[in-house]
Structure formats: C-alpha cells, structure tokens
Amino acid sequence: MPADVAVDVAEPTPEEAAAGMPRDRVLGAPERGLTAATIGKSSGRRTLGLVGQYAALVVLASLVLIPIGFTLIQALSPPFPYFDAGKPLHPVAVDWKDKGWLDGGGFSVVVRTLVVAFALAWIQLGAAGGRLRHPAPLASPRRLFAVVTGVVAIAVFAGQIWQSSAERSTATPWWWLAAIAVLAATQFVGFATLRPLWKPVVLAVLASVAVTACTVVAFGAAVWNQGWDRGNLGPALGRSFTITLFITVAQVVTSIVAAYAFAFLRFPFKTLVFAFFMATLLLPLEVTLLANVQTIRELGWINSNAALVFPFAATAFGTFLIRQGFRGVPPEVHDATRLDGYGHMGFLWRFAVPLTRPVIASFTVIAALGAWNQYLWPQAVIDDERFQTAQIRLKTIVGTDITNANIAIAAALIVALPVLLLLIAFSRQIIRGLTAGAVKG
C-alpha cells in the first residue's frame, strides 16, 4: 500500500532499530572506520579529531547549561541570609522537605520510586542498545538487578543526604560520595558486558552522579512544594494544559487544511488571498488586544475556555510554514495519487501530511510553546482566579516579594517542565525536520 511506504520513509530502518540507540551520524565514526571521511587518515589523527570534537561539544553544552544551573541554585537558595552573613549565594541553607525516602505521603513515595526506577531502566536499556519501543534487552538478570538495587541504593542514601543536610552536618559530602559510589557499583553490574572496559566504568559513574543529584534535588528540596502551594499551581497547570492542547490541535488542523488549499488548489485571487493571510502576521497581539477583548466581552465569553482558545484557532504563520512544506512534495507524487484515484482528502492525509511530518512536528512544538507561554491575552480576558493560567499564577508569585524570590524561581521551573518534556518528546521529529533532505537515501 503506497501510504505505508510513504510513512516508512521517515521511520528508522530495521537495521538501525536493531543496532540500538540511534547513532550520531555527524560526529560519531562508524565502527569499522571505512568511510569516505576516514580513508587515508591515520587512526591517531582520527582519535585526536574526535577528542577535539567532543571537547568542543562539552564546552558548548556547558555554555548552554550554566545559566540553567545558576537558575537551579537560585531556586534552592533563599537569598537573604547570605547577604546578612556577607557570603555569596550558595545553596547551603536549602530547606529539605523529607528526612527519609518513605516520608511525605504514599503518593509522593510511589511517584518518586517509579521515576527513579524508570530513569535507571531507561539508562540501562539505552546502554544495552534497546529503545523504549523495544525494551527486550532490559530483560537480562544483570540489568534487572542493576535497576532494582539502584532504586534501593537511592532510597537509602537520598534519605541520609536529606537528613544530614537538614542538620547542617559536616558528614553531608561523605553521604553524597557514598551514594554515588554505591549507585555506580550497582549500575556497573548492568553495564559490565560493554567493551572496552572503560566504557562501563565511565557510564556507571556518570549515570550515578546524574541520577543521585537529580533525585536528591528534585524530590528533597521543599522549595518545589512551596512554589506549588504558593502559586496554587495545580489548577492553573490544568487550565494551561487544556488550552494548550486545544490551541495546538486547532492550529495544526486549520494550518494543514489552509496550507493544502494554498499549495495544491487553484482558485481565483489565490495570491491576493494569501497576501492578506500573511498580512495578519504584521499585526501583533498588542495591537488588536483592546478591540478583541471588547469583542470577547460582548460575546459574554469572559472567564471561559472559548475566550482562551478561539482567537488562536488559526494562524497565518502555521499556514505559511506548512505550505512551504507541501511545496516540497514532488508533483509526481501528486499526479500519481490522482491516477490511483485518491481525492483531496486522501492525498492530503495519506501523502502530503506524512511527507511533511517534520515540518508539521516543528510547527506543533512552536504552537504549543506559544499557547503555553501566553500571558497578555489570558490576563486580559480572565478575571476569575479559577480560570487563571500557569503563567498568570507565576506573575502573582513573583511580584515584589523579594524575600522569597527563590520560591518564585522554583515555581517558574515547575511551569517550564512541561515545555522541556515536550521538547524531549519531539526532539527526534525536530532534528529530522532540520536534516530532512540533507542526505539522499
């Protein structure tokens, strides 16, 4: 069936899936080193080049991550005790929520245990060459052992770290070291089959440091709960989720349909209509805000999902982007499907959309980000706190409450989390979108 072929163009080949983690085609060299790029180069120079590349990557990654790290430190540090003591900002007075893994109620214990188990399983699976869709490699005794003992080790040592940090004990760094060492040991068991030998060691240590640090900070610091409670983030995040979902789906669907018309159909004044369509891009929200708010008020839509979603159901930007994608679909495909008897809808949903999936995925991310981060519009059409979105809540926490600035930052990080998850979920699509057409297969 032709439709499946079209879809499979974008799917990984079976070999790639079996080989495990998607290999880095740009930087990593193929195993046997016999490609055009490496022929004629000594292996020494090749190693040196690789080291250089990775060093550059590490530097770049640090540049990107350092601000995030600082944000995290600021979230954890209540700002003023340090000023008074004449010390620079440093997260030593972190307020810890629980003193042991089993504190804090059944729900949080189950969630944090599951999250750690999932993270360890994912790392083990990745190292073993599996993927979430093909979890078979995980079912080996040593990897299962690594996951289970890893969770136990974290549970035991995280509680100790919280306890000793809360008491401002000098033993805290030793508990950290112990946690990392024990967790690394358990993970090494799972990685042990890898060769050369430095690989499992390095992997075990890196995984252990990352998992320990993330677990202790994410589940132990009280600031997350304080931010959540102070901003009453639960209902606000729910509201943001709802409107983001509706807006994204509506924008993607309307953009695809409109783009189809502009890319494949012939109708009078097409260019003119398209120009008008694009002209709406020139009017930023701020310009139309007052008039649109008045319209919403007259419709009686104040404090409703309709007011939050409806004005954003269609966008010229999405239409433009996806139209460009559609124009990349070879005319031969269009002609062939017409000969095969496909109508407009059949061609659109079975060929045009699958072939431009990277563009559509990128647009989905952009649309969702825009909807999630809206501030001005919801602030204008919502005056009932039950309908407030997460961004408005953030603003009310930030305010001028400077003594608790760290709580506001923590709340901001919580609100940013869904965006991060969205980027991770769509990263494959986005990267494919960026490299689509770079290599002729």
């Binding site: 008045q294 005056d383 603003k395 305010g399 001028t400 409450d401 400077i402 003594t403």
Partner: protein
C-alpha cells in the same frame, strides 16, 4: 493661606476672583467639608442611597465579587485571609476575591476595559489612591460614606488624615484604605562604622547629604542613598513644604486644570537630587514595575539607606533582619549586635525639605461599584464594615504591613507589643507616628490623568539623574506635559 494661590500665573481678573473664592472656601472650612463636588454626587449635592435593605430582602447568601491587584506576598495572603474570615463569620454575604495582577496598573487596566460592559464588573474593587479622581469622574462608584451614614457608622473613627486624602467634596468615596507612607530605612551597622550615631538618622535633605558624605568618606558604602525615582517621593517632599502639584488647591477644591510644580522650591529639590547624584552619593533606580533593585542595594551593602514605602517593613525585616532581634535593632542600639550581623535595619520618619515626617497618606482603597445590584452593593458594604472593625484592621497592620486607619487599632495591646517586640513592628512604628501627625489639610494632589502626571515627572527626574539634563528646563517641560494632559482629560 496656601502658596498656590499667589503663584505668578494666577494674575488676571478672572483668575484672581476664582482664587479668592477658593481661598475663602478653603479657609472657612476644613478640607473634609470643602465645597461639594456636584458632578459626582448628583444635582442636589445629596449622597446617593445605599440600599442596605436589599440585603435583608435577598433570599440565600448574596454573592459579592471583589477584584484586587497590587497585593503580593504577605499582603495578598492577608487579603485572602480576611475574606475567608468574613465568609466564615456570617452566612448572609459570600465574598469571592479575585487577584487581577501584581500591580495597581494591571487592575486599573482591567477595570477600564470592563467598565464599558458594567455587568462584567465586580461589585467591589481595590484600586490605588491615585485613581480616586478618575473613579469619581467615571461615575461608577457608590460613595462608601452613603453606606456609613445609612448604617450609622461613625466615620470619625477613621484617622482624619487618611479620611481627608480619600475625601473629595465632602464625600468619602472608598470604604476601606490600605494606607502607607514613605519612610527612611537605614542600616545602623553602617552608621556605627562611619562613626555616626545610629539612633540619629537624617531628618532633612541637608542631613541626608552630610551623613551620606560621611558614610561614603568612611568607605562603608559606595552610594549611600538608594532611591527609586518615583513621583511619589517628589510629591511628598513638595507637599511637605506646602507646595501644590496642580492648581485648584492641589485639585481638591475643583478639578485641576493646570500643573504648578515647576517652582523654585521644586528646582531646589531636584537640584539636591542632582547634587547627590553628581557627588556619587545617590544610587538611583528607574521606577519600573516590580523593581527590587533598591532593596538589593541595601542587602548587598552598596547603599546604607533607602526611602521606600512603610508597607515594605516586613520585607525589610525578613530580608535584611537576619537573626537581629527587635530589641537589638530598637531605639537603644546596642553595638554588640555588630558581632553577629552586618545589617541592622532601622526605620525613621521620612526626611523632609524642612522637617521630617511631613507626609500624606497613600495606598489602595476599596470602592463599592454602583453598577451592581442593590443586594451586592449592600453586601459589599457589609464586607467593608467588617474590615473597619478594629480586630480586622489589626490583621491588616500586623500581617499586611499597612498602617492602622481605625484609631482603636493603635490601642490594642497586641499591636502595642508588635511595635516593641518584633523587628517588623519596630520598623513600622515611625510610619504609624508619621500618619498620626500628618496634616489633614495637606491630603496630597488629586489628579484625573494620574498616569500621565507620574510619567511626566518621572521622565523629568530620569532626564536629570541619568542624562544629566538641566533641572528647571526638565521640570518646566514636565509641567507643560501635565497641563496638556489635564486639558485633554477635561475636554474628553
């Protein structure tokens, strides 16, 4: 006699006659009983009816919606707390409070956009004092005084200075006010280090200059005075020496038609700021929404003193107090506290041009809107009446940091103890005394287009401090801008 009425551009027969009439009005009666503002209250000068009966006729609890804005942190928590207490205290009225934004600007914008569709307005709204004239002109306010009279509430329970600021043409418009005044916060540790007396902070601008110079010369702080460039302090200083910002008795006898602040006195005041700045004694920060840089300057010890709102006292106590106790930071400063703290916050009356503590009350106020149903109007008054109770006003003071406007609050033993035993209370006390001694005859300017006035004055101050422009020229330009804005406001 007030100075405004003898300023140069007031010559000419008509103007002189008008001024004479106004002076007569001003001198013959206290400002709370000045000439009536017929526009807002109706042709007979009568208060509108406050439909208190509607509450008894209503079946089931009356839903009252309250919009507030500009309350953050502890003040927001206090607002929510008081609403919850009120709802629990009776079952006739249910108040739902909705936060419309962290700044007064945001809630005012919200009000403006909703005012065209009155059925979408709340029943009760909390707005900054600066919006008073605009609210009256908008005609959507039910003066709380009408309800006070209908309910037999004695409005002389309210501090006279606070009352006079929110009274126009003999009518008190809001039903409750979160009053604050500007005060001086200073780091006593720096005073000790510079060899100054930590219990004698500056009282006048000249003393600020000499003490700031001493602090800088001793090397304890880089730029001793941290200052947010706000029109509020400018107005306070000028009002403190009897100058008016606008004509017609600062807009109190009749709607202002002209700005009158570009006087030699104002030139001297801004000249003082400029000199402080030129000599490296001023740490000036542009007045942006939610700015905290002026506090951080104290925290990082870049500056030694700060002029800010009294409502910030609990923030200052939390942020800078560290482990300093009220007794240690109190009047009898004990130098041994310096062993454990580098920051020992103190507060003092607002230094003035001539004398300290010359302030007028400012702050957000609660207005009943006449656009809602009679039962909602009556329910709104019930809530305001509840807030006017001394035990509730006390909560605003202790937890929210606003000054007591009901006199009985000050006599409460818990409040007395708060002023003595808690750092926030110690820091708040100068503002309380300042309000008690504030002159009801100097209630501050009343301006319709307040946003424009603030913008013009702050632009002029910014130009002088950050762009090194000429003082009289900048002020004259700002004055023209405000006058034009007043004309536009009157015409539209």
């Amino acid at each position: 006699m007030r100075r405004t009425y003898v300023t140069p551009w007031r010559f000419g027969f008509t103007a002189a006659a008008l001024a004479a009439a106004l002076v007569a009005a001003a001198c013959s009666e206290p400002p709370t009983t000045g000439s009536g503002n017929a526009v807002a209250i109706g042709p007979g000068g009568q208060l509108p009816d406050c439909p208190l009966d509607a509450l008894d006729e209503a079946t089931g609890p009356v839903e009252v919606s309250l919009w507030y804005g500009g309350l953050v942190g502890s003040t927001k928590a206090t607002m929510e707390d008081i609403v919850a207490r009120f709802n629990a205290s009776q079952d006739q009225v249910r108040v739902t409070a909705n936060d419309q934004g962290a700044s007064y600007e945001e809630i005012y914008r919200k009000y403006q956009s909703a005012s065209a569709t009155p059925e979408q307005l709340p029943d009760l709204i909390y707005l900054e004092d600066t919006q008073l004239q605009a609210m009256i002109d908008g005609g959507q306010v039910l003066p709380a005084q009408a309800c006070m009279e209908a309910a037999g509430y004695d409005l002389t329970n309210i501090e006279s200075a606070a009352r006079s600021t929110y009274t126009v043409g003999d009518v008190l418009y809001p039903g409750y006010m979160n009053v604050s005044t500007p005060v001086l916060y200073y780091n006593k540790a720096h005073w000790v280090k510079a060899g100054l007396d930590p219990n004698k902070p500056p009282q006048t601008l000249d003393e600020i200059y000499t003490q700031a110079k001493a602090l800088k010369d001793a090397g304890v702080s880089e730029k001793p005075l941290s200052f947010r460039v706000s029109r509020w302090f400018f107005e306070t200083w000028l009002t403190g020496i009897g100058e008016n910002i606008v004509n017609n008795g600062d807009g109190r006898q009749a709607p202002a038609t002209k700005a009158t602040f570009a006087t030699p006195e104002a030139d001297d005041l801004v000249g003082w700021l400029k000199k402080m700045n030129d000599d490296g004694l001023l740490n000036a920060f542009a007045n942006t929404e939610g700015s905290i840089d002026q506090y951080l300057a104290l925290a990082t010890q870049q500056s030694s003193m700060l002029i800010e709102t009294s409502a910030a006292s609990s923030t200052i106590a939390d942020a800078l107090g560290g482990n300093v106790t009220a007794a240690e930071a109190g009047i009898d400063f004990d130098a041994s506290v310096l062993d454990k703290a580098q920051l020992v916050p103190g507060a003092a009356a607002m230094p003035g041009i001539e004398a300290p503590g010359k302030v007028f009350p400012t702050g957000g106020a609660f207005y009943i809107l006449n656009t809602s149903e009679p039962a909602q109007q009556a329910g709104s008054w019930k809530f305001l009446e509840y807030m006017l109770r001394p035990e509730i006003g006390k909560i605003w003071h202790l937890n929210g940091g606003y000054l007591p406007i009901v006199k009985a609050v000050e006599d409460d033993p818990e409040v007395q103890a708060f002023w003595k035993d808690q750092l926030a209370g110690v820091l708040l006390k100068p503002a309380v005394d300042q309000l008690a001694s504030a002159d009801p005859d100097r209630p501050g300017p009343l301006i319709g287009p307040y946003v424009d006035e603030a913008l013009a004055i702050e632009n002029a101050l910014d130009a002088v401090l950050f762009e090194n422009q000429n003082v009289p020229e900048s002020l004259a330009r700002a004055q023209d801008e405000v006058t034009q804005s007043l004309e536009r406001y009157a015409g539209g």
